[in-house]
Amino acid sequence: MNIAVLLKQVPDTTAKISVSGGRVDENSVSKWSMSPYDEYALEAALKLKEAGGGNVVAISAGPSRCEKLLRDAAAVGADDLVHIMNDDINNLDSTQLQKLLAAAISKSNSSIVLCGKQAADTNSGSTGPGVAEILGASCMTMVSEVTKDGEDYLATRPSSSGHEKVAVSAPCVFAFDKGVTEMRRPNVRGIMMAKKKEIEIWSAADLDVDLGNSNVTINSHSPPPEKPPGQKFEGADSVSTVVAKLRDEANVI
C-alpha cells in the first residue's frame, strides 16, 4: 500500500497579494509555493517510505501551474505524481474538493494520507478531517511526527501535559502541524529525475466524481486592514509605559 500526501500550491509568503474587482488577482502573484504545513507532511511521508513502507504518492488539485509543485515534491523523493486538473479550484467548496481528493487517494491505492493541518492561504483546516470522513478513515490532527510500529502507526501530537504518542491503524489521515524535521533540500539528481517523471492527470470524470453544486458562494475578497505602525520604546524610563500597554491594550500580561 502507498502513502498519499496532499499538497496545495499557495501564493508564496513573500508574494504580494492584490485584490482587484473583489477577487484576489492570481495573475499578480509572482511566486507560488508549497503550503508550509504540507512540506512537513511530505517530509514525514518520505521518512515513512524510507522506513520501509510503499511509494509516496503526491496529490495536488488545481490548475496547470500545480505541475511545478508536484515536480518539487518529486525532486525530494515523491515516487508518483497525481494532478487533479481543475482550473476553477477556488470556486469549489471544501466538500467538493475533498471528494476529488478522496477519490484520487482511493485510486492511488494509498492506505494512509498525510497533509498539512491547514493551507497558508485559506487556513480553513477542513481538508484532512473532510477527506478522512469520506474515506471512512481515522483522522489525527496537529501531528508533528509519524512512525511505523509494526502494522500500526505511532503519531506524536500535543496533549495537556506536553506531547502524547498515539497508535493508530490504517486507514488514517494525519494532518500535520509543524513537524520535527524541515523538508529536505532537493539535489540536482532529484531535480533531473523529477523533470522526467510522468504526472498522472485526472479530471473529476476520470475519478468518477459527481461534484454537484457548490454550497458556498464567495461574494468578494478584501485585503486585510493595514496594520497600525509599531511603537518603539527605549530606555528604563519607558518600562512602566510598556507594561501598561501590554496589560491594558494588548492584553498579553
Binding site: S28, N187, V188, I191, M192, K195
Partner: protein, 600 residues
C-alpha cells in the same frame, strides 16, 4: 549574522521575460523548461545558503593550515564540499556521460557562479577551476586522457588547477622557463616552478589535476612555443586500467614529483589556497597540439574571466543585501525636510539622500551587470549551435564581452562593496557584520585572470578590431535596431535618448582609438581603461533600457516599478560619467608619458 537570499526573482525576470532562454536552449537540443530552470535556481540558492554561507566567515577566520608542503583545509569546508558533490551541485554543466547533469552552460556560468560566490567565494573557486580543466580536456584531450580524467573532474571527486604564472613571468607568459621533455612512451617530464596557483594543493579531493604551460626543447621563442600539459598530483595505481597505453612502468607510483613549497598570506579569501607549485620531472601528457598551448589555456582563462566577473556581482549582491538590512534598522538624524517619524528618537537613515545614493548605486550596477551576464551566459550555449551564423554571432559577442564582464563587473563589484560598507558606518568596518570580509574577498577579482588593465588593453587593442570588426558589428546591429524601434515611444525617451547618445559616443571613441592607436600605441594604452568603462556603461545602458521597456508594459507591480526606477537612476546618475570618460580618453597620452619619471 550575515543574511542572504538568492536573487531568484531577478533571474526569473532575466531568463524568462528578457531573454526568453527556453526556446533558445531547446533549439540547441537541451531538454529544458521553465519549471526545471526554476527548480535548479531555487535548489542551488537553498543549498548554497544552507551549506556554504554558514562556513564563509569561519573560513575567513580559520584559514588553511600549511605544514611541510601539505595544506589542510578547515574540516567544515571538506564536509560542505562533499555534501555539494553528493547533491550534484558541482557538475551541472558537465556531460551526463561523465557523471555531470548536462544542464545548459548559462546556468553554471551565471546563476551558479553568482550564488556560489555570494555565499562562499573561497569555496566557489575550486569547482570553477575543476570545470574549466574538464572543459579543456574534453574538447582537446586524447581519448585516453578523457576516459581517465574527465569523469572524476566532472563530478568533483578530483580537482583542477591552471598553472601559468612563474616567478619572473606573469602577464608576459612568453618568457616562462618550465620545461617539458618528451619521453619514448608519449608522455612528458615536466620541470619548473609555478606561483599564485589557486587550490594548487589541498586535501578537499583525493587528487589534483594541473594544467601546466611549459616549453618543449627547441620550441619557438615567446608564446608561440608554449604547449599545454596535464599533470596529476598523484599517478593513480590503477592507471593501466585507465586505458593509456605503454605507460605501466612509470605509473604504479603515487608520487609524481608535484610539491607545494609555500602558501601565500593574503588580504582575503583566506580559505582559498594560493600556492607555489614545483614540478620535478613530473609525468604529464600533452593536451592539444604541440606549441598550441596558449589558445587552449586561454579557452579556460576566458571562462575563468567570466567567472571572475560574476564574483563582482556576487559579492556586491550579498554586501547590498546586508547593508540594506542594516540601514532599515538604523536611525540617525532627521529628514532634512522635517522629521518623518517624530515619535522616534531619530528617522531611519533611508530618509537621507546620500544613503539612498550609495545603496542604489550598488543595486543598480549589480542588477545591470546581472542582465549582461545573463545574456553572455546564453551566448556561451549558442556558441555550440549547429547554425553557423548563430554560433559565429555568439562567439563574436562572447569575445567582445569577456574583457568587459571581467573588468567592468569587478570594478563595479569592488566599488559597490566599498559603498555598502560606507552605508553601515563603523559597523561596516567591524567583522561581525560580514561586509568587511566581502570587501577583502572581492578585491582580488580586479587582479586575477589578467588584471583589469590587461582586460582593457585586450578590448581596445584586440577585440574591437578583431575579425575585421565583426565582433562590434554583431553588437551594433541589435543595439541600433533597439534604439530605432523605441525612438517614437514617449515613455522610452528618457532611456532611449541617452543610450543613443552613448552609442554614438562609443562609435566616435572607437574610431579615435583605432586611428590614433595605430599611429601611437601609447594613445590606445593610455585610454584603454576609460574606454573599457565607457563600453561597459553603454552595455549596461542597453540592458537597463531593455529592462525598462519590459517593465513599462507591466507597471503597477512593485517589481517592475522598481526596475523602471532603477533604469531612471542608471541613466540620470551613473551613465553621465561617460562624458568624463570620453574627455579623459581624448586627452591622449602625453599627460602620462611626458610626466618626468624621476619625479614620480
Amino acid at each position: 549574522m550575515v543574511e542572504y537570499n538568492a536573487p531568484i526573482r531577478d533571474y526569473e525576470f532575466l531568463f524568462n521575460e528578457m531573454f526568453d532562454v527556453i526556446p533558445i536552449v531547446q533549439k540547441l537540443g537541451y531538454d529544458f523548461d521553465n519549471d526545471f530552470l526554476s527548480m535548479l535556481t531555487e535548489g542551488w540558492g537553498e543549498h548554497a545558503k544552507e551549506v556554504w554561507l554558514p562556513i564563509n566567515q569561519l573560513g575567513d577566520k580559520k584559514g588553511l593550515d600549511y605544514d611541510d608542503g601539505k595544506i589542510k583545509m578547515p574540516e567544515e569546508f571538506k564536509s560542505a564540499y562533499s555534501e555539494s558533490i553528493e547533491a550534484g551541485w558541482l557538475s551541472t554543466s558537465c556531460k551526463q556521460e561523465h557523471g555531470g547533469m548536462g544542464v545548459p552552460i548559462f546556468f553554471s556560468a551565471v546563476t551558479w557562479a553568482e550564488i556560489g560566490t555570494s555565499t562562499n567565494m573561497a569555496m566557489s573557486v575550486l569547482p570553477a577551476l575543476s570545470i574549466g580543466v574538464y572543459e579543456v580536456l574534453v574538447e582537446h584531450g586524447s581519448k585516453e586522457l578523457i576516459d581517465y580524467f574527465a569523469t572524476n573532474l566532472a563530478t568533483g571527486k578530483w580537482a583542477g588547477t591552471m598553472c601559468l604564472t612563474e616567478p619572473h613571468a606573469g602577464t608576459d607568459l612568453g618568457i616562462i622557463t618550465t620545461k617539458a621533455i618528451p619521453q619514448d612512451d608519449g608522455s612528458y617530464r615536466i620541470t619548473g616552478t609555478k606561483i599564485f596557483i589557486t587550490y594548487g594543493e589541498h586535501d578537499m579531493t583525493e587528487n589534483i589535476i594541473h594544467l601546466v604551460l611549459a616549453k618543449t626543447p627547441g620550441a619557438p621563442e615567446g608564446t608561440k612555443g608554449i604547449s599545454l600539459f596535464l599533470v596529476p598530483k598523484f599517478l593513480p595505481s590503477d592507471w593501466v586500467s585507465g586505458g593509456v597505453k605503454d605507460l605501466s612502468e612509470n605509473l604504479m607510483s603515487d608520487d609524481n614529483g608535484v610539491t607545494c613549497s609555500g602558501s601565500e598570506e593574503k588580504m582575503g579569501i583566506h580559505a582559498s589556497p594560493t600556492c607555489v607549485m614545483n614540478f620535478d620531472e613530473s609525468i604529464g601528457w600533452r593536451v592539444g597540439d604541440l606549441h598550441n598551448g596558449m589558445p587552449l589555456m586561454f579557452q579556460m582563462m576566458n571562462r575563468e574571466r567570466l567567472a571572475t566577473g560574476m564574483m563582482g556581482i556576487g559579492l556586491a549582491e550579498i554586501a547590498y543585501q546586508n547593508s540594506l538590512a542594516w540601514a532599515k534598522e538604523r536611525r540617525q538624524g532627521r529628514d532634512l525636510k522635517g522629521p518623518q517619524e517624530p515619535n522616534e528618537s531619530a528617522d531611519n537613515i533611508l530618509v537621507h539622500p546620500d544613503v539612498r545614493r550609495m545603496l542604489l548605486e550598488a543595486k543598480v550596477n549589480t542588477e545591470g551587470s546581472r542582465a549582461l551576464a545573463a545574456w553572455t551566459g546564453i551566448l556561451l550555449d549558442q556558441m555550440h549551435s549547429e547554425d553557423i551564423e548563430e554560433a559565429e554571432m555568439a562567439e563574436a559577442l562572447v569575445a567582445l564581452f569577456t574583457p568587459i564582464v571581467k573588468a567592468h563587473f569587478t570594478d563595479l563589484g569592488c566599488e559597490s562593496v566599498n559603498t555598502c560598507m560606507q552605508v553601515m558606518g563603523g559597523a561596516g568596518y567591524c567583522t561581525e557584520y560580514g561586509v568587511e570580509q566581502f570587501y577583502r574577498d572581492v578585491r582580488i577579482s580586479k587582479i586575477w585572470e589578467g588584471t583589469n588593465g590587461i582586460q582593457a588593453l585586450d578590448l581596445a587593442g584586440r577585440k574591437i578590431t578583431h575579425n575585421m570588426g565583426k565582433n562590434l558589428r554583431y553588437l551594433m546591429w541589435p543595439l541600433t535596431e533597439f534604439i530605432e524601434n523605441n525612438r517614437t515611444i514617449p515613455e522610452m525617451e528618457e532611456f532611449n535618448k541617452p543610450l543613443h547618445q552613448g552609442v554614438r559616443g562609443l562609435q566616435q571613441l572607437t574610431l579615435l582609438m583605432i586611428a590614433e592607436g595605430q599611429a601611437n600605441p601609447h594613445f590606445l594604452a593610455a585610454g584603454a581603461t576609460d574606454y573599457c568603462r565607457y563600453f561597459g556603461n553603454v552595455l549596461l545602458g542597453y540592458m537597463w533600457a531593455k529592462m525598462a521597456k519590459i517593465s513599462l508594459e507591466k507597471s503597477g507591480d512593485p517589481f517592475y516599478d522598481a526596475k523602471i526606477a532603477s533604469a531612471r537612476y542608471f541613466f540620470k546618475r551613473i551613465f553621465p560619467e561617460t562624458a568624463g570618460l570620453a574627455a579623459r580618453i581624448q586627452s591622449g597620452y602625453k599627460n602620462l608619458m611626458d610626466y618626468p619619471v624621476e619625479m614620480m
